[in-house]
């Protein structure tokens, strides 16, 4: 599996990508059991074949307008800082290979998204821009601790 391959998904009409080797599987949307006293973007937990997984919403993580979940939403199960978690996104649109020539670093990127979250920007054709996420840095150590706490309370 190539390192340059990304699973591309939509989020509020923007295009994002996650390295394919970080992704365990993709689930259709299912009911999430909310848990109290967590940050806004942590939606709750799901049961995946007997394993309890915390799930969070990328829209809220990125301060994009939140929406009602529908059956078209998907949960991507990802490996993130040595943990397995679910991430809710609008829809999966593509799997793409991004060549080094089509890769742009975050150097000039505006402040809208924290630079730590990003690997860079991928370009496909003349009009496609894919914001490539660095999953291992998406959550800060404090947020990771909180997520761990979510698992612990339910274990």
């Amino acid at each position: 599996m190539s390192e340059n391959q990304y699973v591309v998904f939509a989020l509020n009409e923007q295009t994002y990508g996650i390295e394919i080797n970080k992704i365990k599987e993709v689930l259709s949307y299912r009911n999430i059991t909310p848990i109290p006293h967590v940050q806004e973007f942590v939606k709750g937990i799901i049961n995946l074949r007997g394993v309890i997984l915390p799930v969070f919403d990328l829209r809220e993580k990125f301060r994009l307008p939140s929406v009602e979940y529908t059956m078209f939403h998907v949960i991507i199960v990802v490996e993130l800082s040595d943990r397995i978690m679910g991430v809710i996104v609008d829809e999966i649109t593509d799997v793409l290979e991004i060549q080094p020539d089509d890769f742009q670093t975050t150097e000039y990127m505006p402040p809208g998204l924290q630079k730590e979250f990003l690997k860079g920007v991928g370009k496909k054709g003349d009009d496609m821009m894919i914001i490539l996420l660095d999953m291992d840095r998406l959550l800060s150590p404090e947020e990771l601790e909180l997520m761990d706490a979510v698992e612990d309370t339910t274990a």
Partner: protein
Amino acid sequence: MNVQDETTKIFHAETEDLLKSAEACLLRLEDEPVSGPEVEELFRVFHTLKSGFAVVGFDVASKYIHMIENLLERVRSNEVPVTGPLVSLLLENVDFISEMLNRGLSGEPVAASEDLEAGRVGLNRFLSPGPVSGEEKSGLEDAATDEAPSQDAPDESVFYSIEIHFRGDLFISGQDPILLLMNLTEFGECLEVTADLSELPSYDEMDMFDMYISWKLILKTSVTANVIEDVFMFVKDENEISINEIADPIVDTIGLDDPETPIGQVLVETGGITDEDLNHALSQQKMVGEILVEQGKIGKDVLERVVSKQKATRDAYRKTTIRVDVEKIDYLVNLAEEIGIALPRMQSLFSKGVDVYWSEIEQELENLIKINQDFQERIASVRMFPLEGTFRRFQRIARDTANEQGKKIKVRLSGVGTEMDKEVIEAVTDPLKHMVRNCVGHGIEKPEERKAAGKPEEGVIEFKAYRKAGKILIEIRDDGRGLDVDAIYQKALDKGIVRPGDVVDDNKIVDFLCHPGFSTASEVTSLSGRGVGMDVVKTEVERLGGSLLVETLKGKGTAFTLAIPLTFALTEVLHVQVNDISYLVPLLEVIGTLGFEAIRLRSFGADEKVYRFRGEYVPLVDLSRVFGMSGGERGLEGSSLVFFDTGRKRYGISVDEILDPYQVVVKSLESNYRSVQGITGATIMGDGSVALVIDLLSLEEIFFKDS
């Protein structure tokens, strides 16, 4: 302003220049230690320094410099060879004089007697066997005579104390005491001459044919007493002449073997003065402030406050005058003349009829615009100084630091003629000194280490200045061990500046180094490792609108580059309009303009947008939003986009209209209002309205600050 002030100011400026040229001279001598024009120049410089100090009444300093001058005199006549240690000693003395200057100007005694003594001992080492001058015995306080030391001092010299008391009617016998005294100097060296004027009557009572003065002198010579007596052959019978052989009037071993022994003590031991004299003299040498603190008249904090205020005043002194090359002024005078010619011609063309002479008027106007541009640039250049002096100082620091640490270095300078605004030079020099010390202290390895690494024992430090794209770049490059990126990273982790897993590139390294209180030196030396410096450099450079870059390669070396914008009064700008407001953007940083196409626009995160410009996605900055101006969200449809490269970032702004570029004089808003973030200043447009000139770097900072 009173005359005294004016004199002091001129003295200050001149002395600083002289010291700088002495330093430059010495550094050249160090590269090529031969007696030649450099030594001549040094001699001249120290001579001028001596007179300068004497004119403003710093006699102690003047006398001290006189000793240096004597030493140089010997170097000039090839009696003392030019060597590395000699150059080092003279460099130390340049510093010492500069210290004396500052202390003197702030009203303190110019130097502590111990320091003067230490300096004297140092100078003396190069003068053996003969002492520097006739000041040995009398110390620095009353060197009434200082004849240049005689040459070929014999090995076996004896000392004679000669007392001469002439009869009042000496002149009748046709003898001239001056000639007699001069005869004496031919035998050897007069270490001390004192004229006893106590019998000299007041002016009214004086008979010009009478002799009132008697002399006492100490002669160091190899001739016998008889030979000396022969000088007085014709006068000795009628006058009181006593010639006595004495022991060495200065027991060299006391003062010289132990350089710690203060001169005062030496003098007491040799019987030159009493303890009481010494204590009295010493009490006058002390800093007034310290005495007052000791006596409890003022607190130490008060003293420190006053001293720092004094320093500020002294700095202010420095800013009020600049020395300008006559060539530059001549050029300005020429330009003024050209304007003087062009204007009446315009006038006459106008009066002859605008319609008829339209094309001539246009031509003349163009000419005037050119002259004006030249004029503005030249005026700005009056404040510009070549970096040579600064670089020479760095060379000096690098060299001293290397010596101190037993390292070998070679310093290369290039672009020393590059000119920079005096104020900017002054602002960056001090912080840069830290960096120079760091380069040698951390960067360059010890000779053994270099040898083991297969590098030449001599490290190379290069100072380079050049102009590039409207900026002046100053580069400090060494071929040392390079920055220890791992250690820096570890330290940054420890200090919590960085998170585990963060990507570290060269820019990040600079950020870490510039973090206040950051230092990787395991030991703190007097040179570097105190954790101050880099952050000062960065702050200062950024205040000037510049940036600091670093490149480093393990085992190969490190290069720091400062990029500082050239400041000209005349700026080339592009005129744009946003929501009916005129803005001017510096043309230098504009990399392109485009008509808006929706297909190239992408939103990025919650509220930012990026636009595809030349195959790259760059942010679009909303001017109204950044400046907090009303006008609300503008539609981008139909607008034009202007893109910039500030050297650090690329971004674009959307505007309603792009008008012509032209040259403007930027006026500061601060003089009557206050500084506004993101705005350099304002300018008056052709129609009399006022337009704001955007400061792209500052705009960028506001925009990117949360990223």
